[in-house]
């Protein structure tokens, strides 16, 4: 009888005990497998979880002027970034983050996508130079948005109001296209690199090397401790050949007119000043520029991003007559040539006017000197006819026109110096002798950059020594870090001393009574140069544009030197739509004057003296209404302590 008191099968109870034992042995094996056999693997994984590499950004090297005064500095600024090794869905939070940081949500999503293929510990940079209220937003949402973090970085501080903007250039984030190029293989997305100007040319030197810090983080990416850090190697400072004092003078001389000024030491090729107008504010680029701002700059008809000193290709106008005169005299044609200017002449069946008829007069009998200081077109038409295009091209090319000067700045353009061979190569057409006539006065197909003009006329005034311009002294760095140039540093073009004297004397006549720019005369300074007024566009283009072509006013040019022979300085000014060369001449005169005054002060008056010396200088001064004016005045300095007296307030130093 089977009843309530019948015991449960003892065998089955024992079986249960064995089953439990087997379960526990399996579990114990599971523990053994993880904690003893694979312990190393998991220990590494745990470490990987909690150690994060935080980049320490290297500050870029400063940019200094020739006297060591700071032009471009760095300042501490906070960047907002997204940590990707947290467990959050970044795309889900992107809209909230975009709103808090005043960003376009689409741009945030795009950034997250761009970083998909990068290692997890690489944070995504969202916005640089965040405002205090954006910083407050991040601090206030530490718990809700743990992936949002900040990093302090050194940002570029450029001079205000676009001072020297084109020469310095600006920095920007390395682009996807750049990263695909071999020379950027060591760069990471988000790295800041030079995009134009000196910043681009010498990026390698300026950039430095980012360091990194290994930090302990919790699962939300919050730093809870530090392990070690590799310090950042700051970028090397770069000393330019530019003199801030002269740059101020040049900036002021050009004012807000469109155009460019290049000042160069024709003995060494050192660029002393370089201005282009209109300017842009490179501080807008030191942080990420918004798409609309960028489009505004790129689509502006005045091309504010273009460095016109090296990138404007324009007809040189009458300044080209110096090249013509050199060619004509060296070829033995011009010295004894006499032309009677009656306000124009006919060549190859077409009548060419002299500019002078616009003033209801004529030049009358003209020799080479008068042709230069009075800028007689008829004389040079005749000379051009006699020389022929190929002999003109030979000299122009020898003096570097229609070619890159080899200046150490990116994106220099070549310009055009036409010749018979050039015409056939580019247009598959024969050169017409009639075309040579316009070339004689720097029109037609001739297109040069202001820096080419400064270099060429500087070389002629120096007796045929053609130098390669540069903004950084190549001897300051090891040869391998300076990008090589195929332009030789110095070339000699033999000039007959007599010819040299005639031409330079005539150039001095330009800025004296009887010349084309007497108002640019500088008392007590041996100033010489050549004016030019050039059509903005070629005659052919003008014809094609029809009525609209009439809107293009002439460009004013002037290339000046001081002193007239073996000059210390050559300055080329281009005033776009400036109409008259004499206006450009005054502009150049201002720069030359500033240069000479500084030269005379420093080595003579002050160096010889002890105690106090009175000097005059220019400086950038903020006025009460927030504007910045270039100021000038006299002040007294103690010469014993004198180091850089005129640098009292170089822009960008605050």
């Amino acid at each position: 009888m089977f009843g309530r008191d019948e015991k449960v099968s003892a065998i089955r109870l024992t079986a249960v005990q064995y089953i439990i034992l087997i379960i526990f042995m399996i579990l114990a094996y599971g523990l053994w497998r993880l904690q003893v056999m694979q312990s190393d693997v998991y220990a590494q994984l745990a470490e990987k979880n909690l150690i994060r590499n935080v980049p320490i950004l290297a500050p870029r090297g400063k940019i200094l002027d020739r006297e060591g005064r700071t032009i471009v500095d760095n300042y501490p600024s906070f960047s907002a970034l997204l940590l990707r090794d947290s467990t959050r869905d970044l795309n889900a939070d992107a809209d909230v983050i975009a709103k808090g940081l005043h960003l376009d949500p689409k741009e945030v999503h795009e950034r997250i996508r761009k970083f998909m293929s990068m290692p997890q510990y690489q944070p995504i940079f969202l916005k640089d130079d965040i405002t205090p209220d954006e910083l407050a937003f991040i601090e206030a949402h530490r718990n809700e948005l743990p992936e949002l973090d900040t990093i302090m970085a050194h940002r570029r501080l450029y001079p205000r109001n676009g001072f020297m903007a084109h020469l310095i250039g600006y920095v920007g984030e390395v682009t996807e296209d750049m990263l695909n190029q071999p020379q950027f293989e060591l760069y990471n997305p988000g790295d800041v690199v030079g995009v134009s100007g000196v910043e681009k040319q010498y990026n390698q030197i300026l950039m430095g090397k980012n360091g990194s810090r290994r930090a302990l983080v919790n699962s939300r990416g919050r730093e809870v401790g530090r392990l070690d850090e590799t310090a950042a190697i700051p970028g090397t400072p770069i000393k330019l050949t530019v003199d801030v004092d002269l740059q101020i003078a040049a900036e002021q001389a050009l004012g807000d007119r469109n155009g460019a000024i290049v000042a160069m030491d024709p003995r060494s090729g050192e660029i002393l000043a370089m201005v282009s107008r209109p300017a842009f504010n490179p501080n807008d680029f030191s942080v990420r520029i918004s798409r609309t701002e960028w489009n505004k700059l790129v689509n502006d008809d005045d091309h504010p991003l273009l460095n016109k000193a090296i990138q404007a290709q324009l007809a040189p106008g009458s300044t080209f007559k110096i090249i013509m005169a050199t060619a004509g005299m060296q070829e033995g044609i011009a010295e004894d040539m006499h032309v009677n200017c009656g306000g124009g002449a006919t060549f190859y069946g077409r009548y060419f006017k002299c500019w002078v008829v616009a003033e209801h007069r004529v030049h009358g009998p003209t020799d080479i000197s008068k042709a230069i200081y009075q800028s007689c077109d008829v004389f040079f038409y005749t000379l051009a006819e006699k020389l022929g295009i190929d002999r003109i091209a030979k000299y122009a090319t020898a003096f570097g026109l229609g070619q890159k000067t080899g200046v150490d700045l990116p994106q220099e353009v070549t310009g055009v110096m036409p010749s018979e061979e050039w015409k056939i190569r580019n247009f598959k057409q024969k050169w017409y002798a009639g075309e040579t006539i316009s070339v004689g006065i720097g029109q037609g197909a001739v297109a040069v950059t202001p820096i080419q003009m400064a270099r060429a006329i500087g070389a002629i005034a120096s007796g045929g020594v053609l130098v390669r311009p540069h903004v950084v002294n190549p001897t300051e760095f090891p040869p391998n870090v300076i990008p090589a140039s195929n332009v030789p540093d110095q070339t000699h073009i033999p000039l007959d001393p007599n010819n040299w004297q005639v031409i330079t004397d005539a150039m001095a006549g330009v800025v004296n009574p009887g010349g084309t720019a007497p108002s640019a005369h500088l008392q007590g300074i041996d100033f010489a140069g050549k004016t030019g007024s050039a059509q903005t566009i070629s005659n052919a283009l003008k014809a094609r544009l029809g009525a609209a072509g009439k809107n293009f006013k002439d460009n004013g040019w002037f290339v000046g030197v001081e002193p007239r022979r073996n000059p210390d300085i050559v300055v080329c000014a281009l005033l776009e739509e400036g109409e008259h060369g004499y206006l450009a001449a005054r502009t150049v005169a201002q720069v030359i004057k500033a240069y000479v005054e500084k030269q005379r002060r420093q080595p003579t008056k002050i160096a010889g003296k002890t105690g106090n010396a009175e000097i005059s200088a220019v400086w950038d001064e903020p006025t009460a209404d927030g504007h910045h004016d270039l100021g000038a005045g006299h002040f007294s300095v103690e010469t014993s302590k004198r180091k850089v007296p005129a640098a009292a307030a170089a822009p960008g130093m605050n």
Partner: protein, 360 residues
């Protein structure tokens, strides 16, 4: 029937080991929740344990045989409470599992149902009059557990529903399940599997997928599995600083993953020690089952053994990567009032049986 029960027959040794496990649990809760928003959870846990011990003593005073006589009323009550949950239950995280009590406490009936099922199954098999299990018995016993199980599944709470199953299996096995029957049931269950897959919620499917292939979705459902494995593995032989637990890489370390947290901090040696303590507790319980005064007593104690073993198997199995994530806590150690109370009341039943082993 004389009534002579004494606390001399109370299983003090069992209680000692149980409290030892609770103590380790409290320690680990304290360590894992320090500096988090759950800080202080270990104090609450101590209150639950205190309450549980009191409940255990109260339960041990009741006569389990008297309880078994009224089990059909209790069973009806259990089904009723599960229906109440379906109607009045609080919806939280997509599941209706709790009833809000007037005192503001949340009450989860599915835990209590477990106790009643242990008693109901014990009653059924104690009253069975033949040595071998018929298909009728099989279906009846299956229905006793199956009905509330389906109701809990509907809440939905797969984890708790699964914990009812071992009660039935243990009953069937001790009740005389034949090998042929077992084989047929296993085959049938195997055939049902694909059907069951379609019934799973998406998150449950995710859990299963991430169990089989945790790397598939590292930041999603695979995250818990991976972080748990890293925690356990990085503990090594002797344990470490517990960065996985303390820097909150390990999710909810005070509840379902408490064993992972413990294994990280105390290593293989510590974790094995805990397993050993559980093993001792289970062996002691089975011994009590063997010395029970009657069949019903044996079934009651073995029901508790079944539930406890199942919890340990699933929870520790999950932590070492042998089982998918099911949300089943580790009894005695995991933080949580319902779980602690259930365990101590179940132990109260065991004590009840033990104290009456000489009574007849």
């Amino acid at each position: 029937m004389s009534r002579y029960v004494s606390y001399r027959d109370f299983d003090w040794l069992l209680l000692t080991f149980v409290l030892l496990l609770c103590g380790l649990g409290v320690m680990e809760i304290q360590s894992a929740t320090a500096h988090t928003k759950f800080a202080g959870a270990h104090i609450k846990q101590l209150y639950w344990i205190g309450g549980g011990v009191a409940g255990m003593f109260l339960f041990s005073l009741l006569n389990y045989q008297a309880l078994l006589d009224k089990i059909h009323w209790m069973y009806i009550g259990a089904i009723g409470s599960l229906m109440a949950v379906m109607v009045f239950g609080q919806k939280y995280l997509g599941a209706r599992r709790w009833i809000k009590m007037p005192g503001g406490q949340h009450f989860q009936p599915s835990e209590w149902v477990k106790l009643i099922l242990i008693l109901a199954v014990a009653k059924y098999f104690a009253d069975m009059h033949q040595r071998e299990l018929t298909w009728t018995d099989f279906i009846k016993a299956g229905a006793i557990v199956g009905v509330p199980m389906l109701m809990v599944l509907a809440q939905p709470d797969l984890g708790t529903a699964l914990t009812y199953m071992p009660i039935a299996i243990m009953g069937l096995f001790l009740g005389g399940l034949r090998a042929k029957q077992a084989l047929i049931v296993v085959l049938l269950a195997g055939l049902m599997m694909p059907l069951a897959w379609h019934k799973l919620k998406p998150y449950q499917k995710d859990r299963l997928v991430s169990f089989i292939e945790p790397e598939a979705d590292k930041q999603g459902s695979g995250y818990q599995v991976i972080q748990s494995l890293i925690a356990v593995g990085s503990g090594g032989l002797w344990g470490g600083t517990g960065t996985q637990t303390h820097l909150s890489y390990l999710p909810v370390p005070q509840t379902d993953f408490i064993f992972a947290a413990f294994a990280e901090e105390h290593g293989f040696v510590g974790a094995l020690g805990v397993l050993l303590l559980y093993f001792i507790v289970l062996m002691r319980l089975t011994q009590n089952a063997q010395t029970a005064p009657d069949r019903a007593g044996t079934f009651v104690v073995m029901g508790v053994v079944a539930v406890l073993s199942f919890h340990i198997l699933v929870n520790v199995g999950m932590v070492v990567g042998f089982m998918p994530v099911t949300g089943i806590p580790l009894p005695l150690m995991s933080y949580g009032g319902s779980s602690v109370l259930f365990m101590f009341l179940a132990l109260g039943l065991v004590m009840n049986v033990r104290m009456r082993r000489f009574v007849n």
